[in-house]
Amino acid sequence: MSVVRSIAVVGHDAPLWLAASVLRRALAPLDVGVTAVELPPRASPGDFHATHPALEALHAKLGLEEDVLLGATGGCFSYGRNLVGFGAGGEAHMLAWADYGVPIDGHPFFGHWLRARRGGLSAALQDFCVAAVAAKNGRMLLPDDELRAFGRADYGYHLPALAYAALLRRVASAVGVSTIRANTVALTAGGDALNVDGQSLGVDLYVDTSGAISTGETTPAGAARRVLTARAPALATLPPYAEVRADDFGWTVLYPSRDATRVLRCTMSNSSDDAVIAAATHGAGLTQADIVLQDLAPAVSKTMWRGRAVSLGRAAARLDPLHIDELYLVQLGLVRLLALLPVSDDWTIERREFDRAMRSHIDRIVDFQAATYAGATRRGAFWADASASAEVEHKLATFAARGEIAPMEDETFSPAEWQALLLALGIEPSSYSPLYDRTDPRHLGGELRRMLGFIAEKVRAQPTHDAYLASLSPERAA
């Protein structure tokens, strides 16, 4: 049986309810009680979650069906992020959670594409990604056997934060999470109990999803920024992807949803409010309401499990909002925590392994973000303010030399996603592996044509994003 018999999860909004629900669901068979200590909600109408494909697995464990999720939240699908203007040339590159092309002659597609480009191929890498092509054409990509054989094509969601939090709150209640509302929480000096609005709450394990009870040193994880979130009118047609537009002073993301378009603007830390708002309006091309401005100093906790308290999500790391959502960090922590439930009174080994695994995963996420800045061929003070780990420098160098992504442990982003990012930044590999030259160029050409043909045929047959959303919840159809 579990040594941990009771858990208190501290926080607010979706991270709180997600963590509490997942823990309760996983541990109910062991009779472990989970209490959510709910601090005042902080999500604003402009907040959203651009979720990672992995979240679907948690929803499945919670019994949360996709049509219920989207119907209740007004959310929609996302096949990735369209990066516009990150390279000096200003083009758009779709970063999908997917494979790009299929292997040919037993070798990964990317090298074949590099070779074909040198031979005059005009098609972009993303043209060989079914998910990217579908998304750019406003279509879904409903899986079938042929598509599954073609390769990976995952998706995430754009979920309005307030509505998602409300839904998860209901789920938490349904799976047996008890709730205490609180205005203030703090760990007692010994770390053995929570002080909740003056009352003591003693449980075996405390999980912090908000930073309210986490203390301790942090390591910087990126340049300080100012971040704006806002709501803008919904788009008439919903793209199934987010659009990230780079400019000299920052970037602006549009996250489409049925009730509104959410805008996220990230810029230099010394920008004035007016400048940020103006840039966001200009970048989005939409008028904005519910504007919230925040300062962000990206940082990672040095220790994420101290005593009886585990930090998840933003309590573990405040990261640059590009490429990754806070909920993914929550999920990372939940998965690790569930694999390291204490078995005795001494938790030293579990704490150490949790910290090691979390820091390693987060380091690789930070690397992906740092590469976006350090590798960008764009000019400007915002882009120059980039520090990169030795691992990122090595990855950038290896890609620039050979188009290969140096494999490392605990990666969130696949080699294909790294390649798509670095191409989007305008980095052109100076060579490809000689192995690729063994493929008959006519065979290569034939395979490329076959792929493009397959993709065009598949995408043509897909429903539009709007039509599919309407089919899931007819009563919500606009």
Binding site: M1, S2, V3, V4, A26, P29, L30, L338, A339, L340, L341, V343, S344, I349, E350, R352, E353, R356, H394, A397, T398, A400, A401, R402, E404, A406, P407, E409, S431, Y432, S433, P434, L435, D437, R438
Partner: protein
């Protein structure tokens, strides 16, 4: 400034043996024909070539070359290998097999060893972990057949490798490579010409006067590491403090009366004795530490361990465990013993060669000088492979209970690499296995050796307790029965060999 008309399209391999000819064949297969490949070997210099055991990865290499399995086995006197039996590595007299394959199967998202541990602690099973491994059960029964490709079959839960005569394998690869355009030059290196500006190797000057130029030089010269260590001065990272064995006696004996489908590694006071069954003879050796046993006594230990008549005089090899800090320096890449050495305890030498050849092919320069960025990636990958194997080997040694034997007392109490220490603590306290994606060894391999070396977790993953106990017991019994039933229907290894790939009568 030295201009080479063929730029870096010419590759010169120094040294034959398995390293040299695997490199030659592998590169010839993978690279386009513009890359000219030349191999320089001396008939005078003997190669290490003791009977060799391998890992399942070798089949991918052979398949890449288009070798027919039966033909390859016939020509190299090969037998099948389901794993390695470790005798006396924990307590003297006890034995376990480290197999190629899975133990049980996960259930409810929780790994098998936790379910088994729980069942044991509840008295619902007394079956040892081995009973849940298809490969161990088959190995102990002395049987073999090819695994099933259908993932639903119990026979898909194992894989296999080979024992073979490394000299014959090298000869086979030599023939394959020369047939496809690799140029072989017989000769011994007298001196090495270097570019005065870059420090790169320009040419090998052979004793009989030939000058072999090239853009890239692959050092397969064995322990001497003539180019990588000697010329390029790539420094040596020594691991004798973790792996004290520094010598080996080797002797071939007659073909084994029974034909076990596994390698045997038997612990001895001064090291360990290997036994590798081939079709035409048996390979034997005693790996030992000169710090703890005299070579003459070590020779006696080997002779006393033999089960068949020796076919030759034992010969001795000396080595140092460790690796070159940089396997690629300038335009020289070390493959095989020239880049590092780990004793053959887990049959990793040929695997490390294979990994290096594939990585080298991928990272070879296209035009101009080698790219230091690609050399850096090669070195990173090579280092990772060696370090992973090192930790796994150290585990076998350190987790012993051969109390009172000075070598083993040293090994039990020595400070360990931190990376290994963490893994041990995690398993010991809760049965959690190491979790990494790149390099050897698989999680089931760690489980096998940790368990076999007597490391008993004091607890299991609490999430295993969610499963109903009766269903658990039934599930375990059913799995064992499926294995036992299927293994009982398999032919003996000797029979299968005779049918599949017996050597033609000489």
């Amino acid at each position: 400034m030295n201009q080479r008309s063929d730029g870096n399209s010419s590759i010169v391999i120094l040294g034959g043996g398995t390293a040299g000819w695997m490199t030659a064949a592998g590169l010839r297969r993978l690279l386009p024909s513009e890359y000219a490949i030349t191999l320089v070997e001396s008939d005078e210099i003997g190669t290490v070539g003791v009977g060799e055991a391998t890992l399942p990865h070798i089949k991918k290499f052979n398949d890449m070359l288009g070798l027919d399995e039966a033909d390859f086995m016939r020509r190299t006197g090969a037998t099948f290998k389901l794993g390695i039996q470790f005798v006396g590595w924990d307590h003297p007299g006890e034995a376990y097999i480290h197999p190629f394959g899975a133990f049980g199967e996960p259930w409810g998202g929780v790994e098998f060893q936790h379910h088994w541990q729980r069942a044991k602690s509840l008295g619902r099973t007394t079956a040892p972990l081995d009973h849940f491994s298809y490969a161990v059960t088959a190995a102990n029964a002395g049987v073999f057949t090819h695994p099933d490709e259908d993932p639903g079959s119990i026979r898909s839960t194992y894989s296999y490798a080979y024992h073979f005569d490394a000299g014959r394998y090298a000869a086979l690869l030599r023939e394959w490579a020369i047939d496809r355009g690799v140029v072989r030059i017989e000769g011994k290196v007298a001196s090495v010409a270097r570019d005065p500006l870059t420090g790169d190797v320009d040419a090998l000057e052979l004793q009989r006067g030939e000058r072999v130029t090239g853009g890239i030089f692959v050092d397969c010269s064995g322990f001497r590491s003539l180019l990588l260590g000697g010329e390029m001065q790539s420094s040596w990272e020594d691991w004798t403090h973790w792996l004290p064995c520094d010598a080996a006696w080797a002797v071939p004996t007659a073909r084994a009366a029974t034909m076990p489908p596994y390698t045997r590694a038997s612990a001895r006071p001064g090291g360990w004795v290997w036994r590798i069954p081939l079709q035409h003879r048996t390979g034997n050796g005693h790996v030992f530490s000169t710090q703890f046993i005299d070579p003459a006594d070590a020779r006696e230990t080997l002779l006393a361990a033999l089960e068949e008549e020796p076919l030759d005089e034992p010969r001795v090899l000396r080595f140092s465990p460790g690796r070159r800090t940089d396997a690629w320096r300038g335009n020289v890449i070390g493959v095989g013993l020239a880049s590092g050495f780990l004793e053959p305890l887990e049959s990793t030498s040929i695997f490390l060669i294979q990994a290096a050849v594939i990585d080298l092919a991928n990272l070879l320069p296209r035009d101009g000088r080698p790219d230091p960025r690609l050399a850096a990636e090669f070195n990173r990958l090579s280092g990772m492979q060696y370090d992973r194997v090192r930790d796994f080997l150290v585990l076998h040694y350190t987790a012993n209970r051969r109390v009172g034997e000075p070598l083993w007392d040293y090994l039990r109490t020595m400070p360990l690499p931190a990376t290994l220490e963490d893994k041990l603590e995690l398993f010991r306290s809760r049965g959690t296995l190491p979790d990494y994606a790149f390099g050897l060894f698989a999680r089931d391999s760690w489980l096998s050796v940790l368990e076999g070396q007597g490391i008993q977790p004091t607890a299991h993953d609490p999430l295993a307790d969610a499963a109903p106990v009766d269903a658990l017991a039934e599930r375990l019994d059913d799995f064992r029965e499926r294995i036992a039933g299927s293994v009982a229907a398999m032919p003996s290894h000797a029979e299968f060999l005779a049918d599949f790939c017996a050597e033609a009568a000489q």
